[in-house]
């Protein structure tokens, strides 16, 4: 059976896309340029979450310890603590929940300070994910865009976009679609951390609020979709796991770059779900 025509699908939505999908239990896979390095954008929060859990498992930190985030530690962002005004105190794992459910940049940087970027990279090495690398905090992502363009958000000029380091996998947090589905598979197979931590990570990933990307391809009450989105100018991505009522579990990673610089592009968001669905249907055949 021939592979689905992902390229045509992406083209119709005005994007270029990279995709990998695998059956978590059988290992069957489908892909489209699945080993290309891609910028992670907010998906960098996924490996950070895993290392956070491993350090909690190892007793290096107490996930329930109350942590105060003062207003001056805020990082730019549209959600969570980033959008709030006053000092906040909550546990580290609740910060982690906000980091994953609404992609809160402030929570992510508080956790990254605590966990350490090199610890995340060491863990990735141990997992054999050497195409995945963290180099920038959430704050650094935003600051580099301002430095590259000389101004703040929004970034709509094609010239500005071409200068952004955060879109160059060689100079920002990076991975490949295949390595992202491997990391997800490890979480779903209880291999990334202790079974208790993996179970909690799955629950948190399933609490992500955005319905417009991966989940839009699986519009059924009895299909579970958990994942983490990432967005930067012209970059839209989501990596996640789709669980079918018959027990089938599929890790999917879709990264796209749009040729238009417009911020609101429902078709570019939706094609992430459509392409993922195409891949999962292919794996189930």
């Amino acid at each position: 059976m021939s592979d689905p025509d992902y390229a045509a699908l992406f083209r119709m939505a005005g994007v270029t896309g990279w995709l990998h999908a695998c059956d978590i239990d059988s290992g069957r896979e489908a892909g489209h340029d699945a080993d290309e390095p891609v910028p992670l954008a907010s998906v960098f929060k996924l490996p950070l979450l895993v290392e956070f859990c491993r350090q909690a498992d190892a007793g290096l930190l107490d996930a329930t310890a109350p942590t105060t985030v003062t207003a001056d530690r805020r990082v730019s962002g549209p959600t969570g603590l980033s959008a709030m005004l006053d000092d906040v105190t909550m546990s580290l794992r609740d910060l982690a929940y906000l980091m994953m459910a609404v992609s809160d940049n402030t929570s992510a940087d508080v956790l990254l300070d605590r966990v350490g970027m090199e610890a995340v990279n060491t863990m990735l090495d141990a997992f054999g994910l050497d195409g995945t690398r963290l180099r920038q905090s959430g704050r650094a992502l935003f600051e580099s865009m301002e430095l590259d363009t000389g101004h703040g958000w929004p970034y709509l000029d094609p010239d500005d976009i071409s200068r952004l380091r955060v879109l160059d996998p060689a100079r920002t947090n990076r991975s490949t679609p295949r390595e992202m589905t491997r990391l997800l598979s490890m979480i779903w197979r209880d291999e990334a951390a202790t079974p208790e931590s993996c179970s909690w990570m799955r629950a948190v990933l399933n609490m992500q609020v955005w319905p417009h990307r991966l989940a839009s391809g699986f519009p059924y009450d009895d299909v579970e979709v958990g994942g983490k989105t990432g967005s930067l100018p012209t970059l839209r991505t989501e990596v996640g796991v789709v669980e079918y009522p018959d027990g089938g579990r599929y890790a999917v990673a879709v990264f796209t770059r749009s040729s238009s610089t417009a911020v609101i592009q429902p078709r570019a968001d939706a094609v992430i779900g459509t392409a993922a669905r195409m891949a999962v249907d292919h794996l189930r055949r």
Partner: protein
């Protein structure tokens, strides 16, 4: 007899060497033309044509008089022209080929009303070619689209014309009140030649990308045939073309900016150039719906959280 008029008939017959063809060119019947040539021959006392052969030929005398006659006819025409236009000044202008015919007519009429002594000679050339024509002195003043970068040029007041979109009459968007650029997705775009309007090309296509429209193909040309055929859309001012629909663009993202342009060292024609610039501003406002270039309101970009997370 009107000698000059008869000489003109002679010149035309001599060029055609065929009375029938010459009569057509002159817009008259052949017999009176033959008669008038005969009267001219009587007047001058020499035969001008040899009608004996199958084809009409010039006689030796005819050949001798032809050059002289041409000279006289041309000089008399020039005399009349001078009489019509006073001192006979000429101002050569460049206008974009896609400027509406009615606007060009209004420019010429407006300038003539203010300067009956100066004849306006318009040439239809694109911005980039106007810039070189100005540098070479082939035109005195141009009407250019911005952005245009050229050292040694001065520009008049910049006027703005918001563009709408021209669609085939049966395009589903033709029913819409307004069209957002992003809704043009999937349609190809017709633009003036890139070589002739490089600034307009770059600016417009960048604006399209910003607003979510990336045309699969950009056709180049000034005619609207491709739009009529439903194969492309084009940006332009409101126009009433049979078979086409014009719709405004939501938020007016595409605006054409034009001004007059002239060489900084224009010399003696400076007054006329200034006069033309003034007429152009007035005419473009009245006939082409252009307005003063105001500070464009900052575009609002939505911060819907899901699009940024």
């Amino acid at each position: 007899m009107d000698l000059v008029r008869h000489l003109r008939y002679f010149v035309v017959v001599a060029e055609e060497l065929h009375f029938g063809n010459a009569a057509i060119r002159l817009g008259m019947a052949q017999p009176p033309l033959s008669q008038r040539i005969k009267r001219l021959e009587e007047e001058l006392g020499v035969p001008l044509f040899d009608r004996s052969a199958r084809q009409v030929r010039l006689t030796e005398a005819g050949r001798l008089l032809l050059g002289e006659s041409r000279e006289i006819v041309a000089r008399v025409e020039r005399l009349r022209e001078l009489a019509r236009h006073g001192d006979g000044g000429v101002l050569k202008i460049g206008v974009p080929p896609d400027l509406a015919a009615s606007v060009i007519a209004a420019l010429v009429a407006g300038f003539r009303a203010a300067n009956p002594d100066v004849r306006l000679v318009p040439a239809e050339i694109w911005t980039a070619h106007q810039v070189s024509a100005l540098a070479e002195g082939t035109i005195d003043v141009g009407l250019v689209r911005h952005p245009v970068a050229a050292p040694g040029l001065d520009f008049g007041q910049v006027l703005v014309q918001p563009q709408g979109v021209l669609l085939a009459g049966d395009d589903p968007l033709a029913e819409a009140g307004e069209v957002h650029l992003t809704e043009l997705a999937g349609r190809e775009l017709l633009m003036p030649p890139k070589e002739g309007e490089p600034g307009w090309h770059a600016e417009t296509l960048a604006e399209c990308r910003r607003h979510g429209y990336v045309p699969a193909q950009v056709h180049q040309g000034a005619g609207l045939g491709l739009v009529l055929a439903g194969q492309a859309v084009a940006f332009g001012p409101k126009a009433d073309v049979p078979g086409l629909a014009w719709r405004p663009l939501l938020g007016s993202p595409i605006a054409c900016r034009v001004s007059t342009a002239w060489r900084t060292a224009t010399g003696t024609r400076k007054d006329w150039v200034a006069e033309f610039s003034a007429v152009a501003v007035r005419t473009l406002k009245e006939s082409a719906g252009m307005t003063d270039e105001g500070a464009a309101p900052a575009r609002r970009i939505s911060r819907r959280p899901g699009m940024l997370a």
